[in-house]
Amino acid sequence: MAKKITIALAGNPNVGKSTLFTAITGTRQHTGNWPGVTVEKKSGSVRHRDTDIEVVDLPGTYSLTAYSEDEVIARDFIIDGKPDVVVQVVDATSLERNLYLTTQLSELGVPLVIALNMADAAEQRGDIIDRKKMAEFLEIPVVRTVGSRGEGIGDLLDAVIRESGTSPHHEHSIGYGDRVEPVIADLVEALRQDPGLTSRYPPRWLAVRLLEGDGDAEKKITASRARDAVYTILSGVDAGEYEAMMADRRYEVISAVLPQVCTTCVREMTASDLIDRVVTSRYLGIPIFLALMWGAFELTFTAASPFMAMIEAVQAYLAVAATGIRPEWLATLVGDGLIGGVGSVLIFLPNIFILLFLLAILEDSGYLARAAFVMDRLMYSIGLPGRSFIPMLVGFGCNVPAIMATRTIEDRNDRLITILINPFISCGARLPVFVLFAGLFFPENPGTVIFGLYVLGIVVAILSAKLFRATVLPGKPSPFLMEMPPYRLPTAMTSVRHMWDRGSMYIRKAGGIILIGAIVIWALAAYPAGVEYGSAASYAGMIGQAAQPLFAPLGFNWEMTVSLIFGFVAKEIVIASLGTLYGVGEDAGALEGALLADPALGCVTALAFMVFVLLYLPCLATMAVIRKETGSWKWTAFSVIFGTAVAYLLALVITKAGAVIGGV
C-alpha cells in the first residue's frame, strides 16, 4: 500500500531550488496559485520507494519574518499546510547566511532535511564541509546534492521518507540567553491559556515571533483569549532591542558551529569580484549594459525573422485551406476569425521567446543583478528603485510576465508605479503595427521610426513615473539592497525553463482571451447576417462609425477606430482587424496597397496612429494581470484611462503639429 506524503522545498533565493525541484519532479509539475495572494505556487510529484511524494516549491526567502508576502506564504504553508517534511535547500558556498534560515525553520517544529546543494561549486572552490558533523550539531540530516546534475536526489528522498516516519517531532530551538528566555517562557505560558491557538502554532515559535514584533504573529492572536496576557508581557519589552538580540544570538550559534563543520569556506577576492569591478565601474558600467541590451534586441529581431516568416507562411497556407470548409460561415470563422486573429498573436512567438531566453541567460548568469545595481542611480532619479529595472526589461517582450516580475519589489508604492508604467513599454504585440505603417509611410528609414517609438515609450514611462511620484504615489524609492550571486555559467536547460515560465503566459493569452476575442470580433464583422464581411454595414462597421467622431481630430477613419477598439483585446489584433475591414482578408500585400491608396492616410496620420497604439490602454491580458497583481479595480481603471488619455493627447499634438508644418 503506497504511502503518501507532502514535502515543501524552502531556502534562500539563488540556491538552485528550482533546479532541484525540477530534478526531483521532472515533468510532473504544475503551477497554480497560493490562495488569496498573487504569488504562483509550483508543485509536483515523484514516486520513490513505494511512496508518493507531493513536492511544493515555496518562494525563496532569506528568513521567515513577515516582511514580505513571500515569507508569509512560506511560513504559513509550513504551519497550516503541515507538510510531512520540509527540505531546506542550502547553498554550500554561502553556508553562514543560509543557516540563518535554518535556525528559524527549526523553530517551526516540523521535520527538517537539509539539501546541501551546489556541492560541486563548493568542492571546486576547495571547501571542505563535514556533513556528518553538521547533521550532529544541527540535529538535522544533511544530504549532498547537485541539482544541476541531478546528483543526490535518491539520497535526499530516502532521508525525507525516513524523517517523515519519525513523530512526534520536538522543536530544536536555539537558547536565546538569560535575558530573553524568561520572557519567552512567560509568553509561552500565557499562550497556553488558549489551547486552540497552541494546537495550531508551536507555542515557542509564536512566542519568539511576538517578541520580535512580528505583525503577522500579532494578527494571529488578536482573536485569542490569551491576547491580553500576551500584550501585558510585551508592553514591558522593547521589541526592537529584543529582536536585535535574538538575531545576534542566532549568528553567535552559527559562528560557533560553522568553523567546526566547514573549512576554507570564505574566499578573498574571487574572479566574480574582479569582473564586478569592471562591470559596475563608474564609466564602463552603463555602456557595457547598453551594449548588451543592443545585442539582445538585435538578436531578437533578426534571429526571430526567419521563424516569423515560417509561421506566417503556415498561417497563410491554413487560411487558404480554411476557405474550403463548409458551411461558409464556418469557413470565415475559422479562416478570418481564428486563423487570422490567433495567428497574428502566434507570429510573435519567436520574437518574444528569443528575448525572454536572452534575458534568462543574463539573469541566470548573475549579470542582471549587476545591471540593476548599475542602473539604480538612474532609476532612483526617476523615482523608481533599481529593482524595477528587470520587469521593465521583460516588458519589451510582453507586459504580462513583466508585471508579474514586479513581485520581488517589496515597497507597495514602488511596485505600483512600476506596474502602472509598464504598459508604456512597447511590447512585441505592437510591433506589427509599427512595421507595417513605418514601412509604408516612412520608406526611407522605417528602422529609425520604430526605434523612435520604442524610445518614446520609455520616455513616457519615465515621465509618468515622475508624475505619479509627484502626485498620487509620493515617497522615495526604497534604497537598493540586492544580493549579487556569484557569476555562473547558465545551463541551456535552466534558461530555457526560465524562458518558458514567462513565455508560456503569452501562449496562454493566445489560447484564452485572444481566441475568444477573435471569435467575438469575427461575429461583429460578419453580422447582421447577409452583410459583406467587415463592411461598414456590419456591427463592427456600425461601432466604428459611431465612435469615429471621437477620433476625427486625430484623422483616424472608422476602420482605424474599430481596429483600435478591437485592439483592446490584444494589440496584435489591430492589424488583423484592419485587414478584415479593408476587405483584403489575409493578404498583407493587399492591405498595404489599400492603406496607401486611402486618401485619409498620410505620414502624419500614420505616425499619430502608431503613437496611439503604442500608448493607449493596456491589452486585456495585461489588464487582467494588473488587476491581479494590484488587487484593485481602481488602479486597473486608472491605468486604462491614463494610458488612453496620454495616447490621445500625444496623437493630437502630432496631428496638429503635422498640419502646421504643412502636412506631408
Binding site: 532569506y62 553562514e96 569591478r277 545595481f373 539604480d376 539592497l481 550571486p485
Partner: protein, 77 residues
C-alpha cells in the same frame, strides 16, 4: 560609540558594523542577509558611495542611500 558610514569606506577595506540606522523591516532584512551588529564586512567594489560588499562570504550591492545607514568601525577595533 558610532562610526563611519559604510558609504565612505574604500575598496578592499574590512570593517565591522557598529550601528544600523533603519526601520524594523529593513533591519530584519539586513539581519537575514548577515548584516547585523558586529558582523564583519569587506568592501569589494566602491563607487561614489554605492558599494558591493562581502558579508559571510556572500556579495551584496547597496546604493549610496543604503550604505549611509550602516555605520562601521575598523575591523579589530
Amino acid at each position: 560609540m558610532t562610526g563611519l558610514p559604510l558609504a565612505f569606506v574604500p575598496e578592499g577595506k574590512k570593517v565591522t558594523v557598529s550601528e544600523v540606522r533603519a526601520g524594523p523591516g529593513m533591519l530584519r532584512r539586513l539581519a537575514s542577509m548577515g548584516l547585523h551588529l558586529s558582523s564583519c564586512v569587506e568592501v569589494v567594489c566602491a563607487d561614489r558611495g554605492s558599494l558591493i560588499v562581502s558579508v559571510t562570504g556572500c556579495r551584496y550591492a547597496l546604493s549610496r542611500g543604503m550604505a549611509l545607514k550602516v555605520l562601521v568601525q575598523e575591523a579589530g577595533a
